[in-house]
């Protein structure tokens, strides 16, 4: 039991921090520009594919630098030459634009790289168990993932709270017109924020690609859960996104590991049902089976009881 708890916590931490890297970019874009970027996870997928292609020629480490930069530039271009024009037609148009973009990128990836799973591997230097506990290995690469994610959180937090750029960004989030009147180039800030946000998704893609496999469906698998985190954490709140990511990572990890069924709960109250009861499917429902639903349940509860999210200050 102890080993399950320890390893589930570690698994949850790894998943949570990975989700955070995606969510941090998304929440930045969302809070600043009011755009619900449906294509965010697609940029994550592009990060993985770019890094895979770079790694074929130069190895893993150059890919870690080059791929996010490429994705960031691509993101900035999409903002500059796409979203900025669509922006005039309002939020619904922007939403539809990013929605279309997500499909476009998915098709593009299949066209360029093919449909089969790509052989994108972690660097050999990190191919050893960091430690072994109760006979289970914790791979060094996962330790590396945790390290990178925490470093990004600290770096981003410092930039937003301690620097002049961060000050302007924070101001642009709440009072874009006032910032513009003060002579700051708000469209440029938006473009920069979109670029940085998508680059963060790119980083997530690069480091997740070797572990979660690089295939055309990888954006779809992660896409919806990132929105849950942004809403649960609260719009525009980096700390909120971190807490929500960890919460959801741990929630899923524990739910899969713990073998509790409705039966067990009822047994506590001395209630039991026949195996051929017509609602038997309901009584034998176990925690691992409903694990995928839990984040969305959390989303619904948060929207009902705390619409601003855990640490958010405003409703959008």
């Amino acid at each position: 039991m102890v080993e399950i708890v320890i390893f589930s916590t570690l698994n949850g931490l790894v998943t949570g921090l990975l989700l955070f890297m995606l969510a941090s970019g998304l929440t930045l874009i969302f809070s600043m520009m009011g755009i619900l970027n449906f294509a965010h996870a697609s940029f994550y997928m592009l990060g993985a594919y770019f890094a895979y292609s770079v790694s074929l020629f130069l190895g893993f480490w150059p890919g870690l630098i080059v791929a996010p930069l490429l994705v960031g530039v691509l993101g900035a271009l999409v903002e500059r030459y796409g979203l900025r024009y669509v922006h005039k037609s309002g939020h619904v148009a922007e939403l539809v634009f990013t929605f279309g973009l997500a499909f476009f990128i998915e098709e593009l990836v299949q066209f360029a790289w093919g449909k089969e799973t790509k052989n994108y591997q972690q660097p050999e230097i990190l191919d050893f168990p960091l430690f072994t506990l109760f006979g289970q290995n914790f791979p060094a690469y996962k330790g590396f993932m945790i390290f990178i994610s925490i470093a990004i959180f600290i770096g981003l937090y410092q930039v937003i709270t301690r620097t002049r750029i961060g000050l302007i960004i924070q101001a642009a989030i709440s009072h874009p017109n006032a910032v513009s009147s003060l002579g700051h180039n708000v469209p440029l800030i938006f473009m920069g924020a979109f670029g940085v946000g998508t680059a963060l998704a790119g980083v997530a893609g690069v480091i997740a690609g070797p572990v979660l496999t690089t295939f055309p469906g990888m954006a779809l698998v992660l896409g919806s859960i990132v929105f849950v985190i942004v809403v649960v954490g609260g719009l525009g709140s980096l700390t909120g996104a971190l807490i929500a990511s960890l919460l959801i990572g741990l929630l899923q990890s524990y739910a899969i590991a713990l073998e509790f069924a409705v039966n067990d709960l009822l047994a506590l109250f001395d209630i039991s049902f026949d195996a051929d009861h017509f609602l038997n499917d309901l009584w034998t429902l176990s925690l691992p089976q409903i694990a995928p639903v839990l984040p969305y349940l959390l989303l619904v509860l948060i929207l009902i009881f705390r619409p601003t999210g855990l640490l958010g200050k405003r409703e959008t």
Partner: protein
């Protein structure tokens, strides 16, 4: 239309027509676009190659008629498949080949059965080369459906034969995708292990959402802490790669018994991490190659399609057995061909005896359990250097499972 245009049109169309009327056309209804197109396209090449190499280059059937594969894209959708089936019938094609997805196969087999009942003058034959839902040759069987792949239960019978022999495996874990196929695999595993190794403890029987799992590590944590000494899974595609990787990353050194852990990118991705751990049940032979005929055939395929794999060895059986049945029947009409196919015996390219059981139209064939490795590999997968090497062979007699099929045969 001017005379010249007419002349050109006739010139273009005429060779096609004369050719078509003579050839025995086989409609290949499978995904050629969409998510599963990699699998569909790969198989289409194998069909075209088999028809060319095994029939057309050898004087064809019925004294000189060629096989022609007509590819129809069903986008892996049951609805689209019925439309394509109608189209094939409309074009006068009498033989249908389909395999990817049991959901599609269930729709096609129903459509074929109804069509043949209503249009006795215009029947079609359905050759299922890959859909492994056991129901297709049990409760849902009918005279016009023939299956060339071992169904999920037969494959599990073979796998459990091998697992049962491993004295050191006392605890096993079953994990699969949450849909009809994953459930059929799990049910068969529980049934056969109960018969062959009642002492073996099944520590877990888990279903996970199909195609929606980000990270399999939490599942693997659970599997590992349960103390399992082997794992059975029917997972395919990204779900197979994700599960396999998570198991290897956690440092679990146990055999993983699978159905589909090879080709279409899976072999390359598992690479050396899966070496010696992944085992797979399949028909035919990859390494070692038992006969010169199979080696020549495989080499010629790789020479023509260097980026594709001979992933479905049953395809060459479909083509050879069909050609044999047509020659035996002396006609390419569905009824005589179907009668000839019932109970037909055949020696494959790999030199194995196989037969089509009369009762349920299920082909029975020896099955191999192979290991994923880079040692002793002549024909690899995904050009990765890794491939499948046969560890155990399960003879045909051990694959004979019972059927509930009761079919009515047409009198004329």
């Amino acid at each position: 239309m001017s005379f010249w245009r007419m002349a050109v049109l006739v010139g273009v169309l005429y060779p096609m027509c004369s050719h078509g009327a003579d050839a025995v056309r086989i409609a290949f209804i499978d995904p050629i676009s969409g998510t599963f197109s990699a699998t569909g396209t790969n198989t289409l090449h194998q069909f075209e190659f088999a028809a060319e190499e095994l029939v057309n280059k050898k004087a064809g059937v019925l004294g000189g008629r060629r096989f022609e594969i007509v590819a129809l894209d069903n986008k892996a959708s049951p609805r689209e498949s019925q439309i394509q089936l109608k189209r094939a019938i409309g074009e006068g094609i009498q033989i249908i080949a389909q395999g990817n997805s049991s959901a599609v196969a269930n729709a096609v087999t129903d459509a074929v059965r109804k069509h043949n009942r209503r249009n006795p003058a215009n029947r079609v034959l359905y050759l299922n080369y890959s859909a492994v839902d056991p129901a297709l040759t049990n409760d849902k069987c009918h005279f016009w459906h023939f299956r060339f792949d071992a169904h999920a239960e037969i494959k599990m019978a073979a796998l459990t034969d091998v697992i049962a022999k491993q004295e050191n495996i006392e605890k096993i874990y079953i994990i699969g995708q949450d849909y009809s196929f994953g459930k059929a695999v799990a049910a068969a595993a529980v049934k056969f292990l109960g018969q062959k190794r009642p002492d073996m403890a099944i520590l877990g029987n888990e279903l996970h959402p199909i195609g929606r799992v980000k990270d399999f590590t939490p599942y693997v944590t659970k599997i590992q802490s349960s103390g399992a000494q082997a794992i059975i899974t029917g997972n395919w595609g990204a779900d197979m790669v994700g599960l396999g990787k998570a198991i290897v990353d956690a440092g679990m050194n146990v055999p993983i018994y699978t159905y589909y852990a090879a080709f279409d990118g899976v072999t390359a991705t598992m690479g050396k991490a899966g070496k010696g751990k992944i085992r797979l049940v399949h028909e035919g032979h990859y390494n070692p190659v038992p006969t010169k005929r199979l080696r020549d055939y495989h080499s010629a395929f790789k020479a023509k399609y260097p980026d594709h794999d001979l992933s479905n060895q049953r395809v060459y059986n479909v083509i050879e057995i069909l050609a044999k049945a047509i020659d035996k029947a002396g006609s390419s009409d569905p009824l005589p061909v179907a009668r000839a196919l019932e109970g037909i015996e055949h020696t494959t390219l790999g030199g194995e005896r196989v037969f089509m059981r009369r009762e349920d139209h299920q082909l029975f064939q020896p099955l191999q359990i192979s290991v994923h490795t880079d040692e002793g590999i002549e024909f690899d997968g995904d050009n990765s250097g890794f491939g499948l090497r046969t560890e155990e062979s399960v003879p045909l007699e051990n694959t004979l499972v019972e059927t509930t099929c009761k079919m009515t045969r047409p009198q004329s």
